[in-house]
Symmetry: C2
Subunit: 328 residues, 2 copies
């Protein structure tokens, strides 16, 4: 660790937060100094790791190293004002639907100066973030939204691929997910099923686990999903790259096998200035997990955001606007 | 054209410049207002096109629409100071080897305020640009180097792909080029042959056209090139993404067929934070020409540079640092 080590806080002690801690443990440029969720909050200037995370996640034992706190955001803002936290990764679920937007407004109004990054997925969630743009622009915050895998890594790949073309016909993001059993991914699977014909979020929420399993059995564990609500669409439109309705997200989820049924691929089709129609593709390696493809980019955008923040830039950016920086 | 239309100058009236004019004719956000080379210079606030370009390129007829000028750089700098040019695309060859670096220093010292972009290829050429970094940092210039295809589009793809990994093993850029006959691409083919075993730039320069043709006949028109000197290596190292020696550039050039012998592909192999080794790939559509993949990105980076310049940012950036912006 050196003088330019950035001090990071994670808000949210679920699966995403847990993997973020594991990833940050391997980084020397970033030091995780705080973790908070609705139950507890831990801060240690010298750096904290997986054990501390568990304490927060379990709630019970948080007093051993941190303390109970009903307001982790207030703790982070206070530490930022004391010069002890540079950036925040939001690993909290956006439940209720306005939870994160209201959190952002608080950070802005209560004087947080630094970078905040989310890895939100759904178009409706990111749209709510975009609605806070003015608030962010007039604050000390540089905020990067949609900075995970899709939106995120694949949004950026689409934006990059678009540069070779004069007109963009379509961006197609088609992912493959393999999971050996659905028990560990109940929430994700339920969200996926909600995107299948004949289902929606409310309907799936009302289903019992055995009803979900019956659906999985019926489709032999292979869910084919179309027109998924991922915010790549509005972020690419906002960047001026392509109209939102030309961005399609879908894929194949194999619940019965850890092997991906198809390689996750972003395909951008367009017409060059010479009148040729062609497609550029960005293909993710099958061995890379969703965590690697979400969290690596998220912290890459955090680093890019911190460099711009150092140069006095504030405001709302997305994965379609900024080139992420590799965090060593 | 609207109030935010950017006024562009191109320096260099060769093949790259000619295609840049064709591309800009299709853009509404950018207006080409000046073209210059060593012989002539044309400026028209209302916009200029291919006919004007031909006049400059031919030298003879330049007085009809522009004027002879032995110093196009001085013309561009004067017009920039008069508020009539926002950005310059350098389409000049870097011959002699310090031509562009000296040009940059002139732009910086003589008070140019705006964005300059190059699409230089060779590591040695880009290294010279990097040596002018301090000069640029203390000027009114935001300069983007290596902003073509490789380095450029594929450098950016590599930097993006790297984000999913904790350690990068290798970046391999492997291109396919098809050309039906070498007559139109003499300089490029000679440069390619210089990268083959047993050849170098001096040796190829001394060869006659029929000697070059003999080489092409011997390899049946298919040139396999390894360890090419493309600046992707030093730009990715400078961005902190991967050590230069881990970046390999090569490919297959088919001189006898317009069809590409292989799809141009960037493959980045690395290890994720979970310890998995895998590769992300970025594959260019076979129908996209070198011009489309060089020039689209170049103006995309120019737009990104202009937005940062508007926000007060100056200095030297590369295709590994900035996300290009789609120019409508």
């Amino acid at each position: 660790m050196n003088e330019t080590t950035r001090r990071i806080a994670i808000l949210g002690a679920g699966g995403l937060g847990r993997n973020a801690v594991r990833l940050l443990e391997q980084k020397s440029e970033f030091r995780l100094v705080a973790i908070g969720d609705s139950q507890g909050f831990v801060f240690n200037e010298a750096g904290i790791g997986s054990a501390d995370f568990d304490a927060v996640a379990e709630g019970e034992s948080v007093e051993k190293i941190g303390r109970r706190s009903g307001d982790s955001a207030a703790e982070v803002i206070a530490l930022n004002k004391a010069g002890k936290i540079d950036a925040v990764f939001l690993a909290v679920p956006n439940i209720p639907n306005n939870f994160i937007p209201e959190l952002i407004v608080r950070f802005c109004r209560e004087g947080f100066r630094g970078v905040i990054v989310d890895a939100l997925k759904r178009t409706s969630a990111v749209r709510q973030i975009l609605a806070t743009e003015k608030e962010i622009a007039n604050s000390g915050v540089l905020y990067v939204t949609g900075a995970g895998a899709t939106p995120g890594l694949l949004t950026a790949a689409a934006n990059l691929a678009a540069q070779s073309f004069q007109e963009i016909d379509e961006v197609k993001i088609w992912f493959g997910v393999g999971m050996n059993g659905w028990e560990k991914h109940r929430a994700t699977i339920r969200e996926d099923i909600a995107h299948m014909p004949g289902f929606n979020i409310e309907k799936v929420r009302a289903m019992s686990d055995s009803e979900v399993e019956a659906v999985l059995t019926e489709c032999k564990g292979l869910l084919e999903l179309h027109n998924m609500e991922h915010a790549d669409d509005i972020l690419l439109e906002r960047a001026g790259t392509v109209a939102a309705e030309r961005v399609k997200v879908g894929g194949l989820v194999d619940v019965a096998s850890a092997k991906k049924p198809v390689s996750t691929t972003m395909t951008l089709t367009g017409r060059t200035f010479e009148g040729k129609t062609s497609s550029h593709r960005f293909i993710l390696g099958d061995e890379t997990s969703m965590s690697a493809n979400v969290l690596g980019p998220a912290f890459g955008w955090m680093k890019a955001g911190l460099e711009l923040h150092d140069r006095g830039i504030r405001g709302l950016f997305s994965s379609a606007d900024l080139m992420p920086k590799f965090v060593g």
